[in-house]
């Protein structure tokens, strides 16, 4: 049993097919890159513990969705239970960038009135020559959508993967502490576990599920 976390964040990864969502997740949780990966079906679920400040353990529930249009109705149920979202596009495929606005709107619409914290990721930055989207352009979109961070990453070369997840986690954490993320009954995006000051890994306490 592992109840010894202070916070639990649900994170969802969204974006078009073949932008590399699953690879990003695999690199982050398993530290590897598998070139021949097949498309996931439905949902993949991963867990990662993150201690970015001594004594504060954050548990990330990472939902990897199938990007295919077909499965959108399925991935919606995960959106509801997430507080953070990695919005991913492929730097070498312009149309995946152009679809970001739709993804964004859909998520916002769907999780309303809950809060969703985004990070924008331009993926496959290792393929420099083939880039079809400039950094300026992507940053402009991020600003427009009110997304704080834009990161260019590569799961293949392990560039900026960890930092992308960490920036998002940090931002959620800070927003929560600033009281910007309200917790509501029946919402599972963000849960508070063992109170930070009582934190004791040997004697875990049971969690009050759902809210604090």
């Amino acid at each position: 049993m592992d109840f010894s976390w202070n916070y639990r964040f649900g994170i969802i990864i969204l974006g078009d097919s073949f932008v590399g969502k699953s690879s990003l997740l695999q690199r982050y949780t398993e530290g590897m890159f598998d070139k021949s990966r097949q498309s996931p079906l439905g949902i993949d679920f991963k867990v990662k513990h993150l201690e970015f400040e001594p004594g504060i353990l954050i548990k990330l529930l990472l939902w990897d969705t199938a990007g295919q249009e077909r499965f959108k109705s399925i991935s919606r149920s995960y959106m509801r239970n997430s507080v953070g979202c990695l919005l991913v596009f492929d730097l070498t495929k312009r149309q995946t960038f152009e679809r970001l606005r739709d993804w964004y709107n859909e998520v916002i619409d769907y999780v309303k009135p809950s809060k969703m914290v985004f990070i924008l990721i331009g993926h496959k930055c290792d393929l420099e020559e083939e880039q079809e989207v400039s950094k300026e352009e992507a940053e402009r979109l991020a600003k427009e959508l009110g997304i704080t961070h834009y990161v260019e990453a590569s799961a293949k070369d392990n560039l900026n993967v960890d930092s992308a997840f960490e920036s998002l986690t940090m931002e959620i954490y800070e927003l929560f502490h600033a009281g910007r993320i309200p917790i509501r009954e029946g919402w599972y995006g963000l849960s508070v576990g063992v109170p930070v000051d009582l934190y004791n890994p040997d004697e875990p306490k049971t969690e009050k599920s759902g809210c604090c």
Binding site: M1, I43, R70, S73, I74, S209
Partner: protein
């Protein structure tokens, strides 16, 4: 467990049509794939040879078509009207010259399904008849192509040019229409010289209805095929070239005869015709392949005679002493062995339609073997019914009834080949005309006979028999059981077996063979799998693509609703199915259901993958195949899948009840139990309401 033996003829006709129509080759692939599927299903037959029956069958006195007809006429003499037709025929004025048989004028109709003949017909114009002494010839004008049409290979590649087809010349062609036996045999020899190559095939196929093997052989060898002994004036006129040509012709005719109708020479105990043929061959074709083949046949005959003589010491068993089950099972055993050996590509129109062409007699031996067996069964039926002339109509009716019962058994065993053979024997003229006998057949049996015959009715392009084949080729038991008691018994047996037995069902076997490299099957990856199938073992390459395609199509046709977005929320869509896993769980294990609800673990989180991929991502391939076997063998098909999912949940209930959201999600995403038998047993228990 059961297989299905199709009546191959339907496939052959289809494939010939497809080949002619030059349509998309996927259709051919599908037919071939279906044949292969049925072949693997044949492994499910599990009968033991009955030596008593085999002995009886091999020792059975066989009647030729002519013999059976004359026998039939002796049993029930021709009626008034029938003899009138015969008289009418006599009036056509053909002079009886040579034949001693009752039939004086022999009409040979040129009905052939081969597309070549059809083509010829369309460009042939009949302009009249010529009557010669002892023969009537049809004179036709035929368009003959001067330039060769685009070759087959070119047509495949779609490079057919119009110019290649446009040049024709018109010729006058004389084709024999009717004649005395003497003329017909004479024409046999001349037919090879260019103008009528199908005649020999048709003659060999049909001559038994008007002449005996001995008559034809005598005529052919002594009169028209004299190569050395120039006793007749005609023979001495032969030039060297003529003789070579004649020799080739005779060799081809005898070759075709031996190859296709070796039974003609199988006349124990003397084997007179065979000995006559051998001595002729020894004299004129020493050391030839033809001579060797004839000698082989004789060697077989000797062994056979020995066996038979030994058999005579005991009293020969009577046909009626074998139960209908035994007869049907033994035929099925023989049919299944031959059908399994059929090499599917030999059925392809391009091969099979060539079978009767000169020099192509060796083509498609595996198919010929099934045809021979078919004819053997037909012959066996006719012989048992007709060989004893002394039987009273009631006694003979008993034999007919027994054959109807055997036919019904064949239907239950899904042996459509022998079923059709028996039915065609019962429908043949020699038996069909025995009115008094049929009057003694019970009403019930007569009804069954008609019901069975309807299976092969040629209405709507044999739609009924096709439908049955498709329906039953992939299910284990005949759904249209004619014998309800037996059906009940079978179902009972099935139930007693508990969870479906470990035999691979029809569809899974080829899947297992073609998918060995893939750890799991994923949706959206059909093309990949297609490529894998292409790459595996050399000997399968030829058929792997067709097999894989067929299996994939069959599977998806039953599973497709899960992938159709607009159905998601309907009763057959995936959302409904995911919900029904929880609904079932609620009934079976309310506590576990409440726990999952409380933790907000939605069925979408894990059952989506379980259901859409039929659990193939959760287990190793051999275990997946085992699960699929149960799914496919369940009548409700994918309803059982819901129960399997439920069983999977119930089996880890203790862990789930103790775990938190994350632990449980991990458990469900990475299912811990790998013993699928436990799971299937649990699912069966749930199904039975335990």
């Amino acid at each position: 467990m059961q297989g299905t033996i199709p009546y191959l003829g339907t496939f052959l006709t289809d494939l010939v049509m497809m080949d002619t129509a030059m349509k998309d080759h996927l259709e051919e692939f599908e037919v071939i794939a279906q044949i292969k599927l049925l072949q693997s299903a044949c492994n499910n037959y599990n009968f033991v040879q009955d030596s008593l029956f085999v002995e009886w069958l091999s020792g059975l006195e066989r009647l030729s078509e002519a013999e059976s007809y004359s026998q039939s006429c002796e049993i029930e003499p021709l009626s008034e009207s029938a003899s009138n037709t015969l008289k009418a025929k006599k009036n056509t004025g053909i002079i009886k010259r040579w034949s001693d048989s009752d039939v004086e004028e022999i009409n040979i109709s040129f009905v052939s399904e081969s597309p070549d003949t059809t083509e010829k017909k369309s460009s042939t114009q009949e302009i009249g008849e010529e009557v010669e002494e002892g023969a009537v010839y049809t004179i036709t004008l035929r368009k003959v192509q001067v330039h060769q049409a685009a070759s087959k290979g070119q047509r495949w590649l779609g490079v057919e040019t119009e110019a290649a087809l446009s040049l024709y010349e018109t010729c006058k062609v004389r084709t024999i229409k009717a004649g005395t036996l003497e003329k017909l045999v004479e024409y046999l020899v001349s037919a090879f010289r260019g103008n009528d190559s199908t005649y020999v095939t048709i003659f060999l196929c049909t001559y038994r209805s008007f002449a005996s093997t001995k008559q034809v052989l005598d005529l052919l060898l002594n009169r028209y095929a004299k190569l050395h002994h120039h006793s007749s004036a005609e023979g001495s006129r032969l030039t060297g070239d003529d003789r070579t040509e004649l020799k080739n012709t005779i060799s081809s005719i005898l070759g075709a005869w031996l190859d296709q109708y070796s039974d003609d020479f199988w006349k124990p105990p003397e084997y007179g015709c065979l000995l006559q043929l051998i001595s002729y061959l020894h004299l004129n074709f020493p050391g030839s392949d033809l001579e060797r083949r004839a000698c082989n046949l004789l060697a077989q005959a000797c062994t056979f005679t020995m066996l038979e003589e030994n058999g005579y010491e005991e009293e020969r068993p009577d046909f009626l002493s074998f139960s209908q089950d035994v007869v049907a099972e033994q035929f099925t055993l023989l049919d299944a062995e031959l059908f399994k050996k059929v090499v599917p590509y030999q059925c392809l129109g391009s091969t099979w339609s060539q079978r009767d062409k000169k020099g192509k007699e060796h083509l498609a031996p595996t198919i010929r073997a099934t045809v021979t067996q078919f004819n053997n069964v037909t012959n066996c039926v006719i012989s048992t019914c007709l060989s004893d002339k002394t039987l009273k109509p009631t006694q003979r009716a008993k034999i007919l009834e027994r054959w109807i019962e055997v036919a019904r058994e064949c239907r239950i065993l899904k042996n459509f080949s022998s079923l059709r053979a028996i039915l065609s024997a019962l429908q043949c003229n020699s038996i069909h005309r025995l009115k008094k006998t049929w009057d003694e057949v019970s009403r019930e049996n007569f009804r069954i006979f008609h019901e069975l015959s309807e299976i092969f009715s040629d209405e709507n392009n044999h739609s009924l028999s096709r439908e049955l084949l498709i329906k039953e080729g992939t299910s284990k038991f005949a759904t249209l059981e004619i014998n309800p008691k037996r059906a009940q018994k079978r179902q009972q047996q099935q139930r007693e077996l508990g969870p479906p037995a470990t035999t691979l069902s029809d569809v899974t076997l080829p899947l297992l063979r073609e998918f060995p490299l893939s750890p799991a099957y994923r949706h959206g990856d059909a093309l990949n799998r297609y490529q894998i199938a292409e790459a595996i073992e050399l000997e399968y390459i030829e058929h792997a693509e067709a097999d894989t395609f067929f299996c994939f199509t069959s599977l998806m046709s039953e599973n497709r609703d899960n992938f159709i977005k607009s159905l998601d929320d309907s009763q057959c869509g995936i959302t409904y199915k995911m919900e029904s896993v929880y609904a079932t769980l609620k009934q079976k294990d309310a506590e576990l259901y409440l726990k999952l609800q409380e933790q907000n673990i939605k069925p979408q989180y894990f059952t989506f993958r379980w259901l859409t991929l039929l659990l193939s991502q959760e287990f190793l391939l051999p275990d997946v195949i085992r699960i699929w076997d149960s799914l496919f063998s369940d009548q409700e098909r994918f309803d059982f899948l819901i129960l399997v999912c439920c069983a999977m949940l119930v089996l880890i209930r203790d862990q789930l009840l103790a775990g938190d959201f994350t632990v449980n999600m991990r458990l469900l995403q990475d299912y811990p139990i790998c013993d699928v038998h436990t799971i299937l047993k649990k699912a069966k228990d749930l199904q039975d309401g335990a």
